[in-house]
């Protein structure tokens, strides 16, 4: 019992555990689609993206579809509703992540941005919390 307590403390204090391994299911034999049509702007999007192997959103309007559960490409979710970009998050190594929210069931998911995502849409998303002057005024950071 003491050993177990020691291990959990080390996990809590130490560096973040590495990202869990995910098979790339978008290529051969995973699922049949090699391109998808965006549910938001009807753009035909190829799954081959620069900088990521798990593209799940449209590079123009950042809209995704709720088809996967935990593993990208597993097609295990039966919701199939549209997922809209909710906000921007940053990993500790500086990578931007888009948080999507399903408009039907409210499920949240995170996905790294791709190299050909629209920079204007990304920056608009990142600036969303700072747009409302009322909330920024409420945060009195100076003493």
């Amino acid at each position: 019992m003491p050993r177990r307590a020691k291990n959990t403390r080390r996990r809590a204090r130490g560096a973040r555990r590495p990202q869990r391994y995910k098979d790339v299911l978008h290529s051969q034999g995973g699922h049949r689609g090699h391109a998808f049509r965006c549910a938001g702007c009807r753009l035909e999007v190829s799954v081959d993206a620069p900088g990521t192997t798990h593209r799940n959103h449209c590079p123009t309007c950042l809209v995704s579809l709720h088809v996967d559960r935990r593993v990208p490409g597993d097609r295990a979710a039966d919701c199939r509703a549209r997922m809209e970009a909710l906000c921007m998050s940053v990993r500790p190594d500086g990578e931007w992540m888009i948080i999507h929210r399903c408009v039907s069931c409210g499920e949240l998911s995170a996905n790294r941005i791709a190299g050909d995502d629209n920079p204007l849409a990304l920056v608009r998303l990142a600036l969303k919390p700072l747009r409302d002057p009322g909330i920024a005024q409420r945060t009195r950071l100076a003493p």
Binding site: P129, D132, I135
Partner: protein, 126 residues
Amino acid sequence: MSTTSRTLSSTPSTALHSAFSCAWCGRTASAVADDGTQRHHCPSCLQSPHVPDPADGGSGDCRGRMSPIAVAVPRTGDWMVIHRCARCDGLTSSPTRADDNQLVLMRLAVRPLAQPPFPLEAFGDL
């Protein structure tokens, strides 16, 4: 386990007005904010224990640490904090309260702009 180590989510609904102490920063806070709404995270460090809803397929006893990773603005205009479980990678969102730590909230909101993946100077010409 003493009652002081009880965290927010394990508090029964009959004891809504009791206080809880944060398992990570140790701050003691009331389970109900000043405006009468229930808290979902510690007002000081914004962390919370992960209690997945069994209706969503969760086991209900993850108890991992949910760290704040982003600030979202839904249509209503209020800020929401997006949490990520350090143990099972589950994502949740919870509304902010008036006495939440504004410095931590603002740090989360401006963090994407600190290290942009592309130069932001080009947007000055738009």
